[in-house]
């Protein structure tokens, strides 16, 4: 059986909540609630009988200990039958991408015929740990040692300083293996590939400009399910990340955020902490046909890739795309719609450098030469994570939604969704227009 005869996996619909800067409109919510809104919206949009769904997979990065399998709470919270199992997957910023490709695998394998996949991220209330010494003290005191005598209790206090009781551990944002914060690595990458501050700022400004335009001309509306935060009586319908005033001049004035002295990566040309969720309904072609649902697109292929955490931390899109194209037996020039995650302007420009480079193509991506020339008119034309925001676990679902809608509107055949994640992993999905 050739790949062409095989039952195809269809993207029926994809949607997301509006993405909100952390600490703003979603402040009083929780990750699972955001996820539920996205899933509920998906159910309402498609009109699918919830009982037809076989499985749920949701990505998340900064997991809330109260809801460790957040996917399950999301599905239950959206009122889906308890008989539908769900699991949470985490793979840094490609969590949702991998949730979606796992769903694809499940459908290909016949494990399921309809899966909801996506992700959720809630950065308005990240888990902050108390310091390790104090944590140890509490654990020993109440669980592990449980001293009975006063002397025993005092012994636990030995060596502890007053500040230990107040110190908190920052949520880990650094790369565990290299010790570098991601922004520092972006600076390193920019220097290595000669990406200038000017280039980065221009790209970031472009992202904002395009996002603002897509919001204003109503194109963004299609992928968004409005959220009404309980008790507010106000509908949130748009992202609050894109800024109309994000001009190049203003960008240029911002101080470097990571390497203060020599760095070029700033808060302006990096993505920001964001709350949001996304959901995608994937189905086998046959099931979709049987229940009368029209697909937006089919997943033609996907690939994952790992690279060197020191030098290629953020180059996942380049690595994964090369493989996904091979699997789909397509040329780079066949892809007309690009939706690539924008962690940093430096990162996406570096990926383009890799894609357009003979040298890196041959040496690192396993190609004969360069992957191809990137047409800037086709990449992230509705803005990207730099402007719309980047809820880590959810961005992949947004990229899918945006790619599917663009395929339709631009009447293109193939589209690419790609992202990179901490630990130097990448994921690329090639979509084929179902029309």
């Amino acid at each position: 059986m050739s790949a062409a005869d095989r039952e195809r996996v269809a993207v029926i619909d994809a949607c997301r909540t509006p993405f909100m800067r952390a600490g703003t409109a979603y402040y009083d919510l929780m990750a699972w609630k955001l996820g539920s809104y996205a899933v509920k919206g998906l159910i309402a949009r498609t009109g699918i009988d919830p009982a037809l769904v076989d499985y749920g997979i949701m990505g998340t990065v900064m997991a809330d200990v109260a809801t460790t399998n957040v996917a399950r709470e999301i599905m239950l919270g959206a009122g889906l039958p308890g008989s539908i199992p769900a699991h949470t997957c985490t793979a840094a910023c490609v969590s949702a991408n991998i949730a979606i490709t796992t769903a694809y695998d499940m459908i290909c394998n016949g494990q399921a015929s309809a899966v909801i996949a996506g992700g959720t991220e809630f950065m308005s209330d990240p888990a902050i740990k108390i310091g390790k010494r104090y944590r140890r003290f509490i654990l020993d005191y109440t669980m592990f040692k449980r001293p009975k005598t006063l002397a025993g209790k005092l012994k636990l206090l030995k060596g502890m300083k007053l500040k230990d009781f107040f110190a908190v551990e920052q949520p880990a944002i650094g790369e565990y293996s290299t010790g570098l914060i991601m922004g520092e690595n972006a600076d390193r990458l920019a220097r290595r590939l000669g990406i200038t501050r000017q280039e980065q700022d221009e790209f970031a400004a472009r992202s904002h400009r395009l996002a603002v335009a897509a919001t204003r001309n109503g194109k963004m509306k299609k992928e968004i399910v409005p959220v009404v935060v309980p008790g507010t009586g106000k509908a949130i319908t748009e992202d609050n990340g894109p800024r109309a005033d994000a001009t190049l001049e203003r960008m240029a004035k911002i101080q470097p955020a990571f390497e203060r002295k020599y760095g070029t990566v700033t808060a302006g040309n990096s993505s920001f902490l964001t709350d949001g969720a996304s959901a995608v309904l994937l189905m086998s072609e046959e099931k979709a046909r049987n229940v009368g649902l029209k697909p937006l697109a089919y997943i033609r292929s996907y690939a994952q890739a790992g690279s060197d955490p020191w030098e290629e931390l953020l180059l996942g899109p380049a690595f994964a795309t090369a493989r996904a194209l091979q699997k789909a037996n397509l040329k780079f020039s066949d892809i007309k719609v690009f939706e690539i995650h924008e962690a940093f302007a430096a990162q996406i420009l570096a990926n383009i450098r890799y894609m357009e480079s003979e040298k890196w193509g041959r040496e690192r991506l396993g190609l004969d030469g360069k992957m191809g020339a990137v047409d800037m008119e086709r990449i992230n034309t509705r803005g990207g994570s730099l402007s719309l925001g980047h809820p880590f676990g959810a961005t992949g679902g947004r990229l899918i939604a945006s790619c599917c809608n663009r395929l339709r509107e631009e009447n293109a055949r193939y589209g690419l969704v790609a992202g990179c994640g901490a630990g130097a992993v990448g994921n690329a999905i090639i979509l084929e227009n179902a029309q």
Partner: protein, 710 residues
């Protein structure tokens, strides 16, 4: 044994499990009591028994109360006294048992069930939202008659007990624990074992002393005769203010409780028995009981097999009605679309629903997660894009035919052949809305009453074209929403609005003749309406009333009845009622002695100055008979299929005095001949509108009651 299983455990604890045959609930009945008596004898004779546990075998109830059919069958006070005395004797025996008696309660523990629990030494209840304790007797025109009026105040204090019995307010497990009604909250399942363990413990240690915590004010009120006198006086005053003395049961409850405090437990119990005998045969109790039974009847869908599941519901128009409909659907449907002209309007509706969910959560009636799940079912939208595969759409948009027709057309375009379109209109004939649509067989009327979560009635209106599965599905949804549904035929104003219109018309006519609104209100309150007609006009809205007139006017004028133009005139002057603070009453003036002040300008607009007094009975007859006669005509025309539906509709939709049982029960109680005579004399004096319905004459001629044989 038919009603119980009795088991003696190896620890010498007698476990009595209540398991009434035929049905999902346990009810107290004569047979039930006989068996309890036998069990008590057995246990008393067995000296080895160290303790006793009473529990239920039913899934979600302990005992729901007395068997209403049995109570209803009692024809004389004596019969009732014999029945209830037996109950008293048995409960007294149980109370006197020397061994610890433990009640393990889960689910409903109401009326007689609670009275059984009250004679136990120790009450344990499962900590779950399903556990509910209370005395609903007053709703049937009765009092808690198996010692409830004596033992409840003794246990939880007068100031807590009295309102519980007077308003039929129920307590959930935690509230009951706080009030001292139960001694201990226990986890679900394994009740028998839990009970045995407790019985053994109490057999060893003796009963724990109960300490009731009460506020200083309650202490002052409860602990001495003077304080109690104030409580009783206040309670009577409140009852009179609220019911105008139409209902004897609340007074009887106060009398019984007071007697117990003044003359002791024994005298109190005697008083209770005596009052029960009187109440059981009172017409008020008969009417209320019949209503209750009609309501239970209507909780069943005779065409359930035709009904389709409503998973996706859409509400178009999220104002007060729309959000109310959505609010009662969150526990029933999977997805509820909140469609309005803009998202913020829909969001505002969702806010109200959230508030009520939040309130129920805070009260312990639902869990946080369930609250969120139910809220999450609401999806705001401002177009019809999401309507794909919607099972049922209810429109609650502005009452204008053209707008409703447009909504129907839009919905039809966005949905398919299995989507039902229901209109929540109160007066526009459904067939006019359906005229020219693609799928008239899918169009139905679902007339909810405002505020939807509180009003129990749903009037379902079918046209000649409405498909049976559509009716069955609407009925199923209504029942699931907790509504009492009547299915009526299409026509101007259907049933409820149609019988209300003549009542409002008569009110306006009386005002035009010079009546004072407060007097009309007072007269009708004394007749038993919960709201006077002048106040009702203001609350419903003069604009709404005028609109109803417009819809119904042609039908009435065909019968030679000219409607008053009063509402139209008022509306022309900008009067809309309470909503714009311009109504029959003046909402800017302060109330005088609790009385609203009429708007003097209304007098000028309506005419009839100077104001004069009307005989109260004449007011009551004129206003109430307009409604009653119209109900008869509806039965005659087949708008309603049976008197039961007519009675339920009038009482639960329009506030027809419940103790009268409804328009048809009223005629039966008063006598058709007498009603006919009154009607005829009114017709002579006031003209055509009082011409009695033909079937009224038929009933008089045949000498049959409307509810013949029942």
């Amino acid at each position: 044994m038919k009603y119980f299983t009795l088991e003696k455990t190896k620890e010498n604890i007698a476990v009595i499990t209540i398991d009434c045959p035929d049905g999902k609930v346990n009810k107290v009945s004569s047979g039930f009591l006989d068996e309890v008596a036998a069990i008590i004898d057995d246990i008393k004779n067995d000296k080895s028994v160290a303790g006793m546990v009473i529990t239920s075998a039913k899934e979600d109830n302990f005992v729901v109360g007395a068997d209403i059919d049995e109570v209803k069958g009692m024809q004389t006070a004596e019969e009732a006294v014999v029945y209830i005395s037996k109950g008293h004797a048995i409960l007294n025996e149980l109370e006197k048992m020397k061994i610890p008696v433990i009640a393990c309660i889960h689910g409903n523990c109401l009326g007689g069930g609670l009275e059984l629990a009250l004679v136990c030494n120790y009450r344990m209840a499962v900590d779950s939202p399903q556990t509910v304790l209370g005395f609903p007797e007053v709703q049937l025109g009765l009092l808690p008659a198996a010692g409830g009026t004596q033992r409840l105040p003794a246990l939880i204090g007068l100031t807590t007990a009295l309102p519980m019995m007077l308003t039929a307010r129920t307590l959930r497990a935690r509230q009951a624990k706080r009030a001292g009604l139960i001694d201990e909250l226990i986890p679900p399942y394994g009740l028998k074992q839990t009970g045995i363990k407790k019985a053994l413990e109490l057999a060893k240690s003796g009963l724990p002393a109960r300490k009731r915590k009460r506020s200083f004010v309650n202490f002052l009120l409860e602990s001495n005769p003077l304080g109690r006198k104030i409580v009783f006086a206040q309670a009577r005053k409140m009852i009179t203010r609220q019911t105008y003395g139409c209902y004897p049961a609340p007074y009887a409850i106060i009398d019984a409780v007071e007697c117990g405090y003044k003359k002791g437990r024994e005298a109190g119990l005697k008083k209770e028995i005596e009052l029960f005998g009187k109440l059981v045969v009172s017409p008020q109790s008969k009417s209320l009981t019949n209503l209750f039974l009609s309501m239970s009847d209507l909780k069943k869908n005779p065409q359930k097999h035709l009904a389709r599941h409503v998973g996706k519901l859409a509400v178009v128009g999220t104002g007060l009605m729309g959000q109310g409909i959505a609010a009662v659907s969150t526990s029933v449907c999977d997805t509820i679309l909140m469609k309005d002209v803009n998202l913020d309007a829909a969001a505002a509706g969702m806010k109200e629903i959230w508030k009520s969910l939040e309130k129920r959560t805070k009260a312990g009636a639902m869990l946080h997660f369930d609250r969120d799940v139910q809220y999450n079912k609401l999806v705001a939208c401002d177009d019809y894009a999401l309507f794909v595969n919607t099972d049922l759409v209810i429109e609650a948009v502005f009452e204008e035919l053209e707008i409703k027709k447009r909504v129907l057309a839009d919905v039809e375009a966005a949905t398919g052949e299995w989507t039902i379109f229901a209109s929540n209109t109160s007066a526009i004939p459904i067939k006019n809305i359906a005229a020219g649509c693609k799928r008239p067989q899918n169009v139905i009327g679902m007339h909810y009453f405002s505020p939807v979560p509180r009003m129990p009635l749903l009037e379902i209106i079918t046209t000649e074209q409405t498909a049976d599965w559509v009716t069955a599905t609407a009925l199923d949804l209504g029942i699931a929403q907790g509504k009492t549904c009547i299915v009526v035929k299409d026509g101007p104003g259907f049933y409820t609005t149609r019988i209300l219109a003549p009542l409002l018309n008569e009110t306006i006519l009386l005002l035009e003749e010079g009546a004072i609104p407060n007097e009309l209100d007072r007269a009708m309150r004394r007749f038993g309406y919960p709201v006077g007609p002048a106040t009702l006009i203001d609350e419903v809205g003069i604009d709404v009333g005028a609109h109803v007139y417009e819809q119904l006017g042609p039908m009435f004028s065909k019968r030679g009845i000219t409607a008053s133009q009063g509402l139209k005139k008022l509306l022309a002057q900008g009067y809309k009622g309470k909503k714009n603070k311009k109504g029959i009453y003046n909402y800017d003036l302060k109330k005088k002695k609790g009385q609203k002040m009429p708007d003097e300008n209304v007098y000028d607009i309506l005419g009839g100055n100077p104001r004069r007094k009307f005989d109260e009975e004449l007011i009551q007859q004129r206003i109430s008979l307009m409604m009653i006669n119209e109900a008869l005509i509806c039965l005659e025309e087949g708008i309603i299929s049976c008197p039961r539906d007519g009675d339920v509709g009038a009482v639960f939709g329009l506030g027809f005095p419940p103790f009268q049982g409804g328009p048809f029960r009223y005629i039966d109680n008063t006598g058709a001949a007498k009603v006919l005579v009154t009607m005829e004399s009114l017709e002579k004096q006031y003209g055509q509108r009082f011409r009695p319905a033909r079937i009224l004459g038929d009933f008089v001629k045949s000498g049959k009651k409307i509810y013949s044989g029942k």
